[in-house]
Amino acid sequence: MFIRWSAAIAAAVLLSSPALLQGASAADKPTDPQIAHIAYTAGVIDINAAKQALKKAKSKDVKAFAEDMVRDHEAVNQQALALVKKLNITPEDNDTSRALSKQASDKLAELEKLSGAAFDKAYVANEVAYHKAVNGALETQLIPSASNAELKSLLQTGLKIFQGHEQHAEHVAAELK
């Protein structure tokens, strides 16, 4: 049942506890068009968060990090768009994508109220948590569920990118202290 799985992924993003995802059974498998949509949405969310940071961030390191996020996630999403076109897949909106978008817009509103060093800290902390959650979802659900080999391989590259960003965000967070 896809809805239950979506709730699990949303909860995982919220609590950044990928372990929750492991409760989902094989029957919860999202389809390739849904996976493509979730992966693309996850990228767009991080680009929007970075664009907000580029306007509001104070620290030079945080700004540079946000620039890296825009650059990398735009590159991944461009590849994703090219791939779905090639495979003739139409990304399909779904509960997970909707839950992710809802949480992201709430977070944007929350961060919008902050400024200066408080914003920088909150943005970077959220980047660590967000990348961690997406990594968990990619590893335990999206990659194993993908049936097309090229989609799977793009998700694997996406996972390495997200893991890299998580570590990068951790470095930036450590330097803010």
Partner: protein
């Protein structure tokens, strides 16, 4: 000095000047799908390392000890000539999960 030796000294000088620079090699290291390969590489002082970025993402080759910090735009390569012997661990500043090391022999 035996005049007969002069040509052979000249020859030796010519050979030496050819041989010495030829010893410095260019070593290619690839970055593809966020993996540096080979991850461990031996080289000598004077060798050139050429990193080839096959990804659509920008990477860097950044030495932990500060010896080098090479930028690698997407689909581009860049080089660095090794100046000091020693073990150098390096990583990508944008994706610190990309790690590798160079063993630089004197």
């Amino acid at each position: 000095m035996n005049p007969g030796r002069l040509p052979s000294i000249a020859l030796a000088v010519v050979l030496l000047s050819v041989v010495v620079p030829a010893r410095a090699a260019t070593i290619e290291i690839t970055m593809e799908n966020l993996v540096i390969s080979p991850a461990e590489m031996s080289a000598k002082v004077g060798d050139t390392i050429e990193w080839i970025n096959k990804d659509v993402f920008a990477h860097t080759a950044t030495a932990k000890n500060g010896d080098f910090d090479v930028n690698l735009p997407p689909k581009k390569s860049a080089t660095f000539v090794l100046k000091k012997p020693g073990m150098v661990d390096y990583y990508c500043r944008y994706h610190p999960n990309m790690k590798a090391s160079l063993k630089v022999e004197p």
